[in-house]
């Protein structure tokens, strides 16, 4: 497995994914903010949460790049379209499983069926993260598709 490729392109793909999702927020497509949501796992300081979350998101981007690398090696299909397919599955998993699990482990995210307490104030994602806007599934799937596509295209 080509680790240096995964580190370099894992970084680039995570950056593109984060940028795409961030750009879709001012356009009113979604309110999902993965760095902010991850950052608030560690701190309730709104000034620090975004950059802590970005670092956490970057580390996760690298870890997922390793899984992509293993898949490319095992299938012998290191192409942009195969990467994009894995990205699509990855995005769907984030929407359906990842954010639901995050809801129960996040110390500051309100549970869907309980009243908010002083330390649980972040709006839960809901089914397919639709609480964050109807464009959320589309934005999440597309940006993960691009993430996978970049890894597949540049992994050698």
């Amino acid at each position: 497995m080509n680790i240096s490729d995964l580190i370099l392109w894992g970084f680039a793909a995570t950056l593109v994914l984060t940028t795409l999702m961030a750009a879709s927020r001012p356009l009113g497509l979604t309110r999902i903010d993965l760095p902010f949501m991850l950052g608030t796992v560690f701190t309730s300081n709104r000034n620090n949460a975004p950059w802590i979350g970005f670092m956490a998101h970057l580390v996760m981007g690298w870890l997922f790049a390793l899984i992509y690398g293993v898949t490319f090696e095992n299938t012998g299909l290191a192409t942009w379209w195969f990467g994009a397919i894995i990205g699509l599955v990855h995005g769907a998993a984030v929407l359906t499983v990842g954010l639901q699990v995050l809801n129960f482990i996040h110390p500051r995210m309100a549970r869907p069926y309980q009243g908010p307490t002083p330390t649980r104030q972040l709006q839960p994602a809901g089914f397919m993260a639709l609480n964050y806007g109807t464009g959320t599934p589309l934005v999440t799937l597309l940006s993960h598709l691009v993430y996978g596509g970049i890894l597949g295209m540049f992994y050698s």
């Binding site: 927020r25 903010d33 902010f36 709104r46 709006q123």
Partner: protein, 604 residues
């Protein structure tokens, strides 16, 4: 629904007007110039509101809690008495790091004082200035939410969810408050991220107390003691609400299209920042001891004008946007049927020579506290060069007259002030490579023009325009800006003529008989009365000065807020409300009166 019944609450990023009937009738989120969520002030039917008040007959009194920007309304009913406290949550930056907080939170606390009073809630938000109905969704304990574009607005309460009647466009509830008990409501706003749900049951009242303490600590920095202390503190607190903490800007007013005459068309959007206010604003803030705010405001001027430097526009948005396209909102009826309702401001394309002088004077006033750095020096010199290039050109003048451009005496005086301050800055801080001789020559040429053509010996007064025979109230600032002495014969003559021609019922119009290209009348201009009071005080006529000052104060709202204008006949407040410029004038005049009063008593 009259303006004097409204109190302003805010958090130095956004603001709302609360009526003494318990209704929030104006609120734009997340910024001052964002579309209004509640605009009943401009259209009771379509605008949207957020009302909490007793059912049935009641009487109400409204005030600010002392030294705060927290509104308190006391409702008296046959069943008992309740208090309603309203405020935007205000916390220190340190307090904000302890728990997640939404971008904005309006807290409303209903507290039983005596008996048991049945209250009603009506939450009727409307999107984009009442144009679009919301689609409210009830998430029960997680609030009642509506989303629009990247914005999410959510209503929360300590009432049980089943007590609320929710449909797509409104929330209503009936609830009883017993003596000593509290019911809390919060409107939270979040943008571009998952909504943050404010907790109310355990920490809502604590945040209200934090807010009270925040404001009390802030105003404690005011180092003034003397006459009119309460009015000065209220004006400072109002200016703080009109300041935009993230950028340092100060908006002229938090409202749009409150008319200069009822039913008239002189309705403008004041949710922007006018550079003409710069010099008076910095002076007022510095003199009261609010150096952080003065510094932030100067920094805003330096950065906000980047897109147009070295030229300056008349008006910018809080983030320095240079284009403020004017539009009308045809679906709104307007305040007391005063159409059109406008957003944006066409004054951004005007040329006002005086703003260059205003900004240079502001830099000069703040310089003793922080010597101008290289960027400020470059900026100031750029402004000086523009004055040298453009001083002989006609402009729209301080009153932004849209119909014609002429050579205004006031604009020339401010051009003189600009060069005068620039020369002093260059001398005091030993700026190198500055063509001081050029600035001195132009300053002398401007002064000669003013004295020869801007003063009419027939009427014994400075005039509105060169070679003219009319006066306007901006001439009162000639002495206030340091161009001449208030007790000089020429200035005394000008003051006398301004009172004679522009005064009615002891209130001063800014101009009369000057064609400004607009239909309809306007009221007396509040800041002009304060300029007059300051002139009279500085000319040694203290009693007259105090009379003019106090007459103007009598027209303020019950909570001490002033709009832009006053109707001299009905004594109603007119124009956008509350207006920063009026409160800056109040502070400046009160300081001058106090100074002269002290000298007089010492001499006596």
């Amino acid at each position: 629904m009259i303006l004097r019944n409204y109190t302003l609450i805010g958090n130095s990023r956004a603001a709302a007007l609360v009526c003494k009937s318990g209704s929030i009738d104006w609120c734009c989120l997340p910024e001052f110039d964002s579309p209004a969520l509640f605009a009943a002030l401009l259209d009771e039917e379509k605008g949207g509101h957020f009302t909490i008040r007793p059912i049935g007959n009641y009487s109400s009194e409204q005030r600010y809690l002392p030294d705060t920007n927290v509104s308190e309304i006391v409702f008296e009913t046959e069943q008992g008495t309740v208090k309603l406290l309203d405020a935007f949550t205000a916390q220190t930056e340190e307090q904000k790091t302890i728990a997640l907080q939404p971008d904005h939170e309006i807290l409303r606390c209903v507290e039983g004082v005596s008996g048991s009073v049945t209250m009603q809630l009506e939450y009727v938000p409307r999107l984009y200035y009442g144009k679009l109905p919301p689609k409210l969704k009830n998430y029960r304990q997680l609030g009642i939410q509506c989303t629009w574009k990247e914005n999410i607005y959510s209503l929360h309460t300590t009432l049980p969810p089943e007590q609320l009647m929710v449909n797509e466009t409104r929330v209503t509830a009936t609830f009883t408050v017993h003596a000593g008990k509290r019911v809390l409501f919060a409107l939270a706003y979040s943008s571009q991220s998952p909504a943050i749900i404010p907790e109310l049951k355990q920490t809502g009242w604590y945040r209200m107390r934090q807010t009270v303490t925040f404001w009390q600590h802030w105003i404690a920095d005011c180092n003034y003691s003397g006459l009119y202390l309460e009015q000065i503190k209220r004006s400072a607190l109002t200016l703080k609400l009109l300041s935009h903490a993230p950028s340092g800007a100060i908006v002229a007013a938090p409202t749009t299209s409150l008319p200069e005459s009822e039913g008239g068309g002189r309705n403008w959007d004041y949710r922007y920042c006018w550079l003409r206010d710069a010099s008076f604003t910095v002076r007022a803030l510095v003199k009261l001891g609010f150096r952080n705010e003065a510094n932030a405001y100067l920094n805003w001027i330096l950065h906000a004008t980047r897109l147009t430097q070295p030229k300056l526009q008349v008006v910018y948005s809080v983030f320095g946007h240079a284009t403020l396209k004017e539009k009308t909102l045809d679906w709104l009826r307007g305040y007391r049927n005063s159409k059109p309702v406008r957003i944006g401001n066409g004054a951004d394309k005007q040329f006002q020579l005086d703003v260059y002088g205003e900004v240079l004077d502001a830099i000069y006033v703040y310089a003793p506290f922080e010597a101008p750095d290289r960027a400020t020096q470059k900026f100031a010199l750029g402004l000086g060069n523009i004055i040298c290039k453009l001083w002989h050109q006609p402009d729209n003048g301080i009153w932004e007259i849209r119909s014609s451009i002429v050579r205004h005496t006031h604009s020339l005086v401010m051009a003189w002030v600009g060069l005068d301050r620039l020369i002093k800055l260059a001398e005091n801080y030993s700026w190198k490579d500055v063509s001081l001789e050029k600035y001195r020559q132009v300053r002398a040429a401007i002064q000669a023009t003013i004295e020869q053509q801007g003063y009419n010996t027939t009427i014994d007064s400075y005039t509105h325009e060169l070679s003219g025979d009319m006066v306007d109230a901006s001439l009162l600032t000639l002495s206030l800006s340091g161009y001449c002495n208030a007790a000089s014969p020429r200035m005394l003559g000008t003051t006398r003529l301004i009172i004679e021609r522009l005064s009615e019922n002891d209130l001063l119009y800014r101009y009369r008989s000057i064609t400004d290209g607009l239909t309809g009348d306007e009221g007396a201009f509040v800041i002009c009365n304060f300029w007059l009071a300051e002139n009279l005080a500085r000319a040694g006529e203290l009693e007259k000065a105090m009379h003019i000052f106090e007459t103007t104060l009598q027209h303020a709202s019950y909570n001490g807020l002033l709009s832009e204008e006053i109707n001299p006949h009905t004594h109603e407040l007119l124009g956008n409300y509350p207006q920063g410029f009026s409160h800056i004038g109040l502070i400046s005049a009160a300081l001058a009166i106090n100074e002269v009063y002290k000298q007089t008593t010492v001499n006596a």
